[in-house]
């Protein structure tokens, strides 16, 4: 055996575990989903599986719950990005200066990041309890009306937006902070000599120099937000009146609870393509911005 052949063999030996696992739990499931999407596969009767063409896809677009889930996820994405990224940027700017006790504030803002999604979902479920939760007792004590929060179809999704942003902002604050600290102090000193105001400083120096960081953060938040499932699953089970059902949650319900693998797979393919396109745009933008 010559050396190159030997080297190839060794290389594949090193690659084997990773390739096997990625094949089993990523490649094969992705291909299966595409295949099943064109069948009427019902988990309990695998042998009766039949090819049904585009029937599942036609059915999806008549499925009011799926359409509702798309609407919900758009609302969630459009709200959570400005709220969470805005909060993260604001917090980073606030603590990006020499101040006694700054480390305390930094730790405080970061604290919710340490909690898992399940923990924050259960915790806020209790805090937001309409009749005996801490938030409503606080609201009533300072003179507001008690709110239904998660039990109202109008408020439930916005409540989930708030809880998600509350949990995630601290992590992105740290990334913004790293970006801010990369801006050389000499830039601001030069501006000071030119008599630039604080506000002008922010608009003309800080923001442009933070652009790559901001874009990166917004796109990762966008992709993460599209896949929302744990918070509605634990807090509202998609309700009330399907106001918090999301595509990934509906894929789970139809595929796992209702065992309609074929139908669920069609949604997987459709929604997976949407996320894949967003991810592609991300890698293109990050390359152009050179981050």
């Amino acid at each position: 055996m010559n050396t190159t052949k030997k080297e190839s063999l060794a290389a594949y030996g090193f690659l084997a575990p990773a390739l096997l696992l990625l094949g089993l739990f990523l490649v094969i499931p992705a291909l299966l989903a595409i295949y099943y999407a064109f069948t009427d596969y019902y988990l309990l009767t695998p042998d009766k599986r039949q090819f049904v063409g585009l029937a599942n896809f036609i059915e999806i677009f008549k499925d009011t719950i799926f359409l509702q889930s798309l609407k919900n996820i758009v609302v969630f994405v459009l709200c959570v990005i400005p709220v969470q990224v805005g909060a993260a940027l604001g917090l980073a700017l606030l603590i990006n200066k020499q101040r006694r006790g700054n480390i305390f504030f930094k730790v405080a803002f970061f604290a919710p990041v340490v909690l898992s999604l399940v923990v924050i979902s259960v915790l806020w479920l209790y805090l937001l309890n309409p009749s005996e939760g801490l938030i409503n007792s606080l609201l009533v004590n300072i003179g507001f009306d008690a709110q239904p929060f998660l039990s109202s179809p109008k408020q439930a999704m916005y409540t989930i937006v708030f809880v998600s942003a509350w949990q995630g902002a601290g992590y992105q604050m740290l990334i913004f902070l790293a970006g801010l600290q990369n801006i050389p102090g000499t830039v601001y000193e030069a501006a000071k000599i030119d008599g630039v105001s604080k506000w002008q400083n922010f608009i003309y120096i800080t923001m442009p120099l933070l652009k790559p960081t901001s874009i990166l953060i917004m796109i990762t938040t966008l992709i993460g937000a599209f896949k929302l499932i744990i918070q509605p699953m634990v807090m509202t089970q998609g309700g009330p009146m399907n106001s918090t059902i999301t595509p990934v949650y509906y894929i789970y319900q139809t595929g796992f609870s209702d065992r309609l693998i074929g139908y669920s797979s069609a949604m997987t393919v459709l929604f997976g393509i949407v996320i894949a396109i967003v991810t592609l745009i991300q890698s293109k933008v990050t390359k152009e911005e050179n981050i």
Binding site: F14, A18, I95, T279
Partner: protein, 280 residues
């Protein structure tokens, strides 16, 4: 004077913001340290954010919780899964990263390109067919099913590859001359040299495994194999539900993460995924 006043306003504002971020955690912990009735009696005063005045009551909830549910088993399960995923992820992704960094082999470019393409497959949307695969290979309701899908990650392979590429070939060649084979080189030279990469991959894998919920919920049916995250929702729906016990299990499941975040804080930021590793 005005400068002084400004400073005070600034601090008051920061403290107000800090309270918004911290009070839920405080309420979670103190509510686990008082009798059930007190939680609701205290709701309208600052006492809601203080534990019971009687320290002998502080751990009563935990005692009750631990005797009612097999919490130690859940903690052990979570530790076990997270440890296996952490070690497995370092070895599996480290080996693959080494192959891509230091070997010339047929199909290398194609394979690497293929794996980069796989980065855009959103794993969360294919849970159903992942489940059918787990069913097909006969691992449902086993501990193996919980850990296997979490071990290989394109992002971590990429991270190891970049790290190994920076290791000079001369080091490898000189050890080869001494008669060491690739397997020994990987374990004796490469891995020990890559402590920062190991720490990053290890930390992120541990946290991901500890927080994983949906997959173990799907593949496990035996409660004795549940990790803490699944146990939480189980306890939260097992009648009678006591608020202080739920808060206690939330606290128990969070403590290990607090420790991990404190020990490994400098590796956490590297997790901002994908190809964008430009945050320096």
């Amino acid at each position: 004077m005005s400068k002084h006043g400004r400073k005070i306003v600034e601090y008051v504002f920061l403290i107000f913001l800090a309270c918004i971020f911290v009070f839920p955690l405080v309420w979670m912990i103190v509510s686990s340290m008082k009798p059930e009735a007190s939680i609701y009696l205290d709701m309208n005063s600052i006492k809601a954010l203080l534990p019971s005045y009687n320290p002998s009551e502080w751990f009563q909830t935990y005692k009750a919780l631990f005797s009612r549910f097999n919490v130690l088993q859940y903690v052990w399960n979570s530790v076990f899964y997270a440890a296996i995923v952490t070690i497995g992820s370092i070895i599996v992704n480290g080996m693959a990263g080494y192959a891509f960094a230091k070997f010339q082999f047929r199909g290398k470019k194609f394979l690497f390109g293929l794996l980069l393409v796989l980065l855009i497959v959103p794993a969360e949307t294919i849970i159903i067919t992942q489940f059918t695969v787990a069913h097909g290979i006969g691992v449902l309701n086993t501990r193996l099913a919980v850990v296997l899908p979490m071990m290989a990650s394109m992002f971590f392979i990429y991270l190891f590859r970049n790290f190994f590429m920076a290791v000079p070939d001369e080091i490898i060649e000189s050890v080869k001359l001494d008669g060491a084979n690739q397997w020994t080189i990987f374990w004796r030279i490469m891995l020990p040299m890559s402590k920062p990469a190991i720490a990053t991959v290890g930390t992120l894998s541990f946290i991901a495994s500890w927080n994983d919920y949906l997959w173990p919920l799907m593949v496990l049916t035996d409660t004795s194999k549940f990790p803490l995250q699944v146990a939480i929702t189980n306890i939260n729906t097992t009648e009678p539900v006591y608020t202080n016990q739920v808060m206690a299990i939330l606290t128990v499941s969070t403590i290990p993460l607090i420790i991990v975040y404190i020990i490994a804080q400098k590796y956490i930021l590297q997790g901002l995924g994908g190809s964008g590793t430009g945050i320096k």
